[in-house]
Structure formats: C-alpha cells, structure tokens
C-alpha cells in the first residue's frame, strides 16, 4: 500500500463543536479533537487558564461535548487529581480525566502541581499543547519558547536566550508509567498514543507541539506543514517513555537542515544565518542526547 488510509485509524465522531473561538489555522483545536476522538465520551477535561479557556467558548457555552472544568492557571494537575479522586469516591473508576494545559501552564506556573501529582502517580492524563509562549495574553515567552524566538517579552533586539526546557526528561525523572510527545501532523501516531495512555493507570503525560499562526507569525495554512517539519527535522521528535526508563522513537525522523523550518516563521525573522546555525547545533546536540536515551535508557 502506498497511501496510508488514515481515516481507518481515526475515530469518526467529533467531540469538539464548531463555533469555537480558536484563531484560523490554530493547531490547538485539532489536537483537542484528535485526543477526544481517541478517548471517547467517557472523559472529563480540566482546563487551567490558557488559549483553550477562550477556545472552549464564553459562558454559557462549551465547545466540548464532554464535561469541562475551568480552573486557575497553576492548578491543572491538582484539580485533575481531585476530580479523579471524586469520581472514584462516587464509584466511577472508568472515566478518564485529563488536564489540558498550555506550555506556560505546564513548563512554568503549573510545574509544581504537575510534579506533585506525578510523584504521587495520580491517575490521570496530563496533556500539554505547546505553542511555545503565553499566547492567550499576547505572546510572552515561557520556558518552552525556543532559543532565538521573538515574543513581546523577548523583543528582536534581545530575543529569547534560554533553550527550550527539556520537559520530557523532567517527566521521565518522575518515573511515571507513560510519557510521550505527539504532533497534529501525525494524527495516527497521536491517536494511538492517547489510546495507549488510556489503558494505563497512574500519571500519563503527553506533550503536543501546536503551531500558532499569530504567535509564530506564520500563514494560517502552514500549521500542519510546520508541525510535520518540526518532527522530520528533529526539532520535535516523536517518542514514548515508559516508566521513565525505556525511551523509544515512534516515527522516522529523516533529519536535514532546520533552516526552512526557522525561516518560514517570522518570529525568527531577525536571526542571522549564524544564529540559525546555533539552533541547528542545539537540535543536533539534543538529538544526540535523545538517541542515547533511546539506545541506553538514560
């Protein structure tokens, strides 16, 4: 077969409704829709403050066809733990609870709650959709913002000078049963990971790269292409980590120059060729570390 018949692997029904308030071309609703397709209707979503708080619609609306709980920015993992405990107390052990947070809510302000829940191995799935900045409040940098990127708090004359935080290593260090990265450009891989996560008990973590046209300063129709390029060029490798020790790549990463990936995003417009090379070196170095983890488990 020379064409993957993707639709055979993706559940048909949408649990996300039209009329939501995401910007045109946003990856975040695509990610949510795929995740909910994989989980099915027996799901509850906890939503700390992020773009998705808006996408979900203003009161009295909800774009989700499953229950959704809006909560404070830093509390995603704590609230999800509590809701799961509440469900179990009421005798419902089957409903999957997910905490759905942005990169700010995960890498920065929500990290303490996430770490605590993971350390206790609370039984829920934590999903970070990562648009690489605080987009909801108008593009401020987070610790997920890549080196060299423009944001309103890292202007072009002094762009982001920290590399992206290695959240997967942090989560793996908690020895949680399952952690994975996923991409909207690889829907089958994403859905399979979510389905797999659903069958596991304990804290499960999923990190989804979610290109953001206004924040990345890209065209609306480039979202999937950029997400795909991020994977192919090893900027955002797709992998799984089981019990913090077994690392595995789940798709091919042919590699190649990241130049086009960077140059197509105007948030990197100010970078010199030399600076793009620095990013390439960083990508290569991280790939080396990751390959080592895949090979040796550390």
């Amino acid at each position: 077969m020379s064409q993957t018949i993707i639709k055979q692997h993706i559940p048909r029904d949408d649990l996300l409704a039209s009329g939501h308030l995401a910007c045109p071309g946003c990856a975040a609703p695509i990610a949510m829709n795929l995740v909910l397709k994989a989980l099915g209707p027996e799901t509850m979503v906890v939503l700390p403050a992020c773009c998705w708080s808006i996408i979900a619609g203003p009161w009295p609306q909800s774009s989700l066809r499953v229950p959704l709980f809006h909560t404070a920015f830093e509390t995603g993992a704590a609230v999800a733990s509590g809701i799961k405990a509440g469900l179990v107390a009421r005798g419902d052990t089957e409903t999957t609870v997910i905490s759905w947070a942005g990169d700010g809510g995960t890498f920065d302000i929500g990290l303490q709650a996430l770490s605590g829940a993971a350390e206790r191995n609370e039984d829920f799935i934590y999903i970070c959709y990562d648009n690489e900045a605080y987009m909801n409040t108008g593009v401020q940098r987070s610790s997920a913002t890549p080196w060299g990127a423009w944001t309103t708090t890292t202007p072009t004359n002094d762009p982001e000078h920290q590399p992206k935080k290695d959240i997967m290593a942090i989560m793996a260090a908690h020895r949680i049963p399952y952690a994975a990265t996923a991409s909207v450009a690889y829907p089958v891989d994403l859905v399979e990971k979510v389905k797999k996560a659903r069958t596991i008990r304990g804290t499960r973590f999923l990190h989804i790269l979610a290109p953001c046209p206004p924040g990345w300063k890209t065209q609306n129709d480039e979202t999937i292409d950029l997400a795909r390029m991020a994977v192919e060029r090893r900027v955002f490798p797709l992998m799984e980590v089981e019990n913090g020790g077994t690392w595995r790549f789940t798709v091919d990463h042919p590699g190649g120059s990241i130049e086009e990936y960077i140059r197509r995003q105007a948030r990197f417009k100010h970078l010199t060729d030399r600076q793009v090379e620095i990013i390439q070196d960083e990508v290569d170095a991280r790939w080396g570390i990751l390959s080592n983890r895949v090979e040796h488990g550390t």
Binding site: M1, S2, Q3, T4, I5, I6, K7, I10, D14, L16, A17, S18, G19, H20, L21, A22, C23, P24, G25, C26, A27, A28, P29, I30, N33, L34, P41, M44, A56, G57, W59, P60, Q61, S62, S63, R65, V66, P67, L68, V184, P187, P213, Q219, N220, D221, E222, T223, I224, D225, R228
Partner: protein, 591 residues
C-alpha cells in the same frame, strides 16, 4: 451523555457554593464570518489522462480498481479505448511520462494495468451490439487502429458502419507490421472480433480505388479515410534498385507476419532507428541471422520505443550508430554488402533532433547477405479524389478529423506525425464525434458547436463518455478541466512503493521463437500497481481534510462526498494545503 447530565447535580444541600455551568454549545457562534478566503472542493484532471493520446480516464479506472470494482474499471477503460489488450502491449505509453508519481518515486506502470484489464475483458463474451438509432451509414477505409476505433465509436453512437480493408484480414499495422512476439495474433483476433461484434460490416480484401471505386464509398453519408502509411521510403542507396538482397523492411515484416519465413542469409543489416527497424531486426534474428542496426544518429535520437531497443539489445541485436548506407558493395558482380558513410551530429532540425552530417571522406564497407531498409513510410493517397486537400503527403484535417471535403474525414497515419497506435485510436474517436456532429447538423438538429475543450481531458484527447453525457462512474466534485501539477499536490501523505515491472521471457532461447516476450503482470501485481496510483486531482475520500480542519466545518454527505459549513469555516486553508491530491481550491469568489 449530554453536558447537562454530567455537570449536575450541584449539591446545594451540602453547602457547596454554586458555580457557573455552561449548558449551550459554541454552535451558536457564526465564526465563519471571520474568513476572507474560502475553500471549495474542485476535482481536477490527472496528468496521465491528459497525456494519453487515446483519451482514457486512467485515474478513473485506477480508482475503481482501488475500490475492488474491477468490472467497472474495465467498462470505463473500453468506453474510451476499444483495444486495451493491444495498447497495453504495444503503446509507447506517454501517459507514464506524465505520471505525477514519478516525482515521488516511479511512474505507475499504467500500460501493465491496462493490459491486465484488457485481457480480462477479452476473456468475457462481447457485449450485445449497440442499438442502431441513426439511419445514416458511414464508410471507413482501412481497418487499422484509426479505422476500427472510428467504426467502433460510430456504431456505439448508433450508426451503420462498413469498413473497407485491402488486406485479407483486419488490423492494419497491428497485423501487417507489428510482429507476433509483441502482439500475439490470438489477442489481436479477439480484440477485433469484439469491435466487429458492435455490428460493424467488415469487407476485407477490398481495396478502395481498385476493388471498389471511390464512388462506392462516397455514396455513404460520410467517409472516414484511414489507410495508414504503407509505402517504404526510398533507401537512397546508390544502385539498390537492382539488388534483390536490399528490400523494404516493412515488406519483409508483412511477409513474416503472414507466416513467411524467408531465408535472409547469415548477416542482416537493418537501416533505421524506429519501430519498424527494431521489428525487422528482432524478426530477422528469429530467422537465424546475425543482425546489425545501422542508424545515422545516436541512441538518444532513436524514435523507437525504448523498451523495444532494450529488448533488441538483450536478444543480441548489434547497433552501429552515426553511419548511413550510401552504396552497394559487390565482388565479381555479386552483392557482398554496403558502403557506409560515417556521420556526426550537427545543428538541430525541425524535429528538434540534431541533424546527422557526413564526415567528409570517412566511409567503410560492411558485409551483408540482406539489407532491410526501415527509414519511414509514406502514404498512398492515389485513390483519393482531387478535392481532398493534402500537404506533404498527409491529408489535411481539422481537430475533429474533417478534411477539406465536408463529408470526408481522415485520421491515423495519413494525418499524424509522429505516428502511433494510440494517436490513431484517438484520431478515430475524434473523427467519430466529428462525423456524428456533422450528420446531426445535416439532419437538421440544433447541435451548436462541439465543445471540444470541455471534451478533452485537460489539454489531452477527447472523452467519449463526456460526449455522450452518460453518467460518470467516478463521483466528481465540481470538476475543473485543468490538469493538476505535482506542486499543487501534497506528497507528505504518500509513501514510496516500488513499481511492478513486467515479466519478460528469458532472452536466451528467443532466436527462433515468435511467442510473446513480455508476460506483463499477474492479476495480483496489476491490482497492487493500480493501488500505487495517487488519484491526482480527484478526491478519493481520504478524509484528511476532515481530520485537519481545526473548525470541524467539514462533514460527510450521504452520497459519500463532503460538505463545508461556511458558517464555521474560518478560511484557514489547511484543507487545501493538506489535501494530497489538490482537490481543494481556496478562492475569494463568493465571499
């Protein structure tokens, strides 16, 4: 479960403070009003369809095969091509040269799939003859691919057709010129039987101009002239006329194809670089001779089908390039061979190929028992009345084959340069449409102009299905008659897969065999090969647009197609960007 059920009850009795609960959905927000550009499903034309001189919906039958609908695929194929078992074997398949898949890995082996379907069709009894719905009758001169194609399409359009053929059997060059090892006679016979079964009156051994006068064909309501090109060009070898060992290659082929096995001696020189030359060389080889092909240019300029050249080499044919025969060599008055002139390539000529020019003083002599000349064929138009215009020995016609005389149409080798079976079949189809239109107009029907541009696949040949306005078995969404290019498609969702190559007879024991050398593909392989087809330009319901639409604006229609709800589509363009086939277009029209 509904949103209401799961958010309630709030337990006020236990003093939990009430919280805001959403009970409606975002469906009330017409977020589609944000867009300034919108998507539209628009199927396009696959380049293979446009590249086929016959005018076949290749993409369409590949799609049907992919769906497991083999019989429908075969029906769609014969709808446009009356002899797929023939073209699947001998066509030079320019469709494959335009196949988009070549940009991904290798072109789809279209000819192999066509051949398999063609053989499948031959295995079944012919369908009942189409109903005779028109009073008029048409005379067709020549039963080569052009004549038979025109006759077949005219019969399907309801006309009475009589085919006049000078030779004892129908088929034209398919029988007279093309050797059996490339086109087994059993296949050809059955293919022609099927065409005849459409109710065609075939009069063999009847040469127009000698056996019957022109006036007899002129008495029909229209005439299609397709006598081919059967007069071998003069070899321009000094003194050749008096040497019986130097003979036209086509004449030799006709003899062999009729069952003759002439003694050519040990060493045969074939002059020329086209299909006739390759067929002469390989046939001579099968009669036991050592064969050398003499061609005045280089391998690159050879007009022969590359596969034929490859096979000739494998079988042991030698090639001498940049050499042209100029004279006869004799010893004691006995023919011993030919003298040749060495050539080099100069400036390009009208055909774009570099012209061979003699290298002054550089000649050589080569031994030969027989020399077969195959440097092209001319047409014998002596039977045509003077009011039918010709240029350079070819009949002048318009796009629908109409000559300068209103009732006379022509096509095939008497019209085309370059010449091929596929071009002849395509010309026959166009002329059938031209004749139908002409006769209806004459009968007083208000037929208007033939919408030629709409009938053509992209810029390619015409579609009989489109002309008939019959239902298309392929579901098409707002089709636009434009060929889809590779850069309008998104290759990321395709995976590479090696092309299935035809199976060939082992070249070793061929020298005395006239059996078929190419066995094609097995049924299973042909189906797998059809599944390599990317369905360029045409939605095959892969549903990627649904999966990637961030706004869930696309839904499935009952009939299998899709609908975009413009109340919610924000015009992001992801559906168009990600559609692997280029079947979604973004437009500002209608906003």
């Amino acid at each position: 479960m509904s949103e209401r059920d799961v958010t309630k009850p709030h337990d006020t009795g236990r003093k939990i403070p009430p919280i805001a609960i959403s009970e409606t959905s975002t469906l009330v927000n017409p977020t589609g009003s944000w867009k300034y550009i919108m998507p539209r499903y628009e199927d396009r034309v696959a380049p293979c369809n446009a590249g086929c001189p016959v005018g076949i919906d290749i993409e369409g039958y590949m799609y049907l095969i992919g769906q497991g609908r083999l019989q429908e695929a075969a029906d769609l194929l014969v709808r446009e091509n009356p002899m797929p078992a023939v073209t699947g074997r001998v066509c030079h398949h320019p469709c494959e040269d335009s196949c988009n898949r070549a940009s991904l890995d290798e072109a789809v082996a279209i000819h192999s799939v066509e051949r398999r379907l063609g053989d499948m069709i031959l295995a079944a009894p012919p369908p009942p003859a189409p109903e005779r719905t028109r009073e008029e009758t048409v005379a067709v001169i020549g039963s080569g691919p052009a004549g038979l194609s025109c006759a077949c399409f005219l019969a399907r359009l309801g006309y009475g057709v009589t085919v006049f053929e000078a030779a004892a059997e129908a088929g034209g060059m398919l029988r007279l010129g093309i050797p059996e090892y490339r086109l087994p006679r059993a296949i050809l016979d059955r293919q022609i039987e099927r065409i005849q079964a459409a109710g065609i009156d075939l009069r063999t051994s009847t040469r127009v101009g000698t056996d019957v006068p022109w006036a007899e064909v002129d008495a029909f309501d229209a005439v299609f002239v397709a006598p081919g090109a059967h007069v071998g060009k003069d070899s321009r070898i000094d003194g050749a006329e008096s040497v019986s060992a130097i003979r036209p290659g086509l004449e030799f082929l006709k003899e062999v194809n009729a069952g003759g096995r002439p003694d050519l001696g040990e060493r045969v020189i074939v002059v020329g670089g086209g299909n006739t030359a390759m067929d002469c060389a390989r046939s001579a080889l099968r009669l036991g001779a050592d064969v050398t092909v003499l061609y005045r240019r280089t391998p690159r300029e050879m007009p022969a089908i590359p596969q034929e050249v490859r096979e000739a080499k494998q079988e042991g044919v030698e090639f001498e390039f940049l050499a042209a025969p100029i004279g006869v060599a004799k010893e004691g008055g006995v023919f011993t061979g030919i003298t040749c002139q060495r050539m080099e390539l100069g400036e390009p000529d009208e055909s774009g190929r570099r012209r061979p020019v003699p290298i002054e003083g550089d000649t050589f002599t080569t031994k030969a028992d027989t020399v077969l000349t195959a440097i092209g064929e001319d047409c014998d138009l002596s039977f045509l009345p003077g009011d039918i215009g010709t240029t350079w020995g070819l009949v002048e016609v318009d796009e629908l084959g109409e000559s300068t005389s209103a009732t006379v149409f022509a096509g095939g080798d008497v019209v085309d340069m370059p010449r091929s079976v596929a071009d002849a079949l395509g010309a026959g189809k166009r002329a059938a449409i031209g004749i139908d239109h002409f006769l209806r107009e004459k009968a007083g029907e208000d037929v208007g102009e033939v919408p030629l541009d709409d009938l053509r696949f992209g810029g390619g040949n015409v579609s009989a299905l489109r002309y008939s306005k019959d239902a298309d078995p392929i579901p098409r969404e707002a089709p636009v008659n434009q060929t889809v290019t590779w850069d309008q498609m998104n290759p990321h969702h395709f995976q590479t897969a090696p092309r299935h190559e035809d199976h060939f007879h082992d070249a070793i024991d061929l020298r005395s065999a006239f059996g078929e050398t190419n066995f094609g593909l097995s049924q299973k392989e042909a189906i797998e090969e059809a599944e390599r087809c990317l369905n360029c330009g045409v939605c095959n319901r892969c549903e990627l647009c649904l999966i990637f639409c961030p706004d869930m604006a696309i839904s499935r229609r009952e009939d299998g197609g899709f609908e975009i709800d413009m109340r919610y589509c924000k015009g992001c363009g992801l559906c168009a960007a990600e559609c692997p086939r280029g079947a979604v277009t973004m437009t500002r029209e209608g906003i």
